[in-house]
Amino acid sequence: MNIYYSCGRNMEQMVQGILVVNTETIPGMMITETLGVVSGSTVRAKNVMRDLTQGLRNIVGGELVKYTELLEESRQEAIGRMVADAMSREATAIVNVRFATSAITASAAELFAYGTAVKAE
């Protein structure tokens, strides 16, 4: 077994009070208790004007900047909801986080984040 220094927290996570990692263990910390699966999701629609401009941009190919921004914002929100779920269970960290995306209709996308809430020290 390796011995690590205790795992600190960066500013953003300190505000939220929860450590989010996508590894199975937290480097430098010991998981003492698991509190079940926590998840957060959000469904975002692109607006009509954005659809039009991005549709035009799609003709010439390349990156669709507005959609990238939209998904970035939505993902922040999904993670925020997952963190809120974990906080309500009094977890100190979320491990093994996974992301999933699905398109419900052509104009709406669901962003989904899930992980295991744990108590770690």
């Binding site: 390796n2 011995i3 690590y4 220094y5 795992c7 600190g8 927290r9 960066n10 953003e12 996570q13 450590l19 989010v20 990692v21 996508n22 590894t23 199975e24 263990t25 937290i26 480097p27 430098g28 009509v48 659809d51 039009l52 991005q54 549709g55 035009l56 799609n58 003709i59 010439v60 190919g61 390349g62 990156e63 669709l64 959609y67 990238t68 998904l71 970035e72 993902r75 993670i79 986080v97 996974r98 992301f99 999933a100 995306t101 699905s102 398109a103 209709t105 052509a106 996308a109």
Partner: protein, 179 residues
């Protein structure tokens, strides 16, 4: 009284019609602009894609040179000791082929075999997403990113023909900081 009633009916009809009128306007303007854009795509989209690939490669090379290594790894565990801080880090990019490339792909599809043009577009998008993950890790102060995963999901739907043809490439991992 009859006048007021008539106006009311007219108003209601207008309110119902306005969304359809807007959609029709959008459709008409799209029909006018589309051929021009397609011509532009035929002439320049290949060049644009090459430029994008070169841009990503040069950013990656300069970052690798300044760090002396690639910060991304897909392994989980076997960490170097002395990790002081960790947290999730992600980056995404929505990337699509141009309609000219779609046309080339369609012809390729008739012959069968590998469709090189789509492979080129997708690998350009993926390289861009990974490069953004590296840059995001560096700006957030992480030394390394472990357990990197790359997801690809379809943005457009197969049901409607006019929807956007693009994929979202999303890379995420756990940033770690050594002391």
């Amino acid at each position: 009284m009859a006048d007021v009633g008539g106006l009311l009916v007219l108003g209601i009809i207008l309110v119902i019609l306005i969304p359809f009128l807007l959609l029709a306007l959008i459709g008409i303007s799209f029909a006018i602009v589309y051929p021009v854009m397609l011509l532009w795509a035929v002439l320049f989209s290949g060049k644009k894609l090459d430029k994008q690939i070169a841009n990503t490669a040069s950013r990656e090379a300069s970052l690798r040179e300044s760090l002396g290594r690639d910060p991304l790894t897909t392994i989980d565990g076997g960490y170097r000791s002395g990790i002081t801080s960790c947290g999730v880090v992600w980056a995404g990019v929505v990337f699509g082929p141009s309609h000219w490339h779609l046309l080339i792909g369609l012809y390729n599809n008739l012959i069968g075999g590998s469709i090189d043009i789509f492979q080129k577009v997708l690998s350009a998008g993926r390289a861009e997403a990974m490069q953004r993950l590296r840059e995001s890790a560096v700006t957030n102060g992480w030394d390394d990113v472990i357990n990197v995963r790359i997801d690809t999901s379809d943005m457009g739907s197969k049901a409607s023909k006019n929807s956007v043809k693009a994929v979202e490439i999303f890379a995420y991992g756990t940033g770690v900081k050594y002391d």
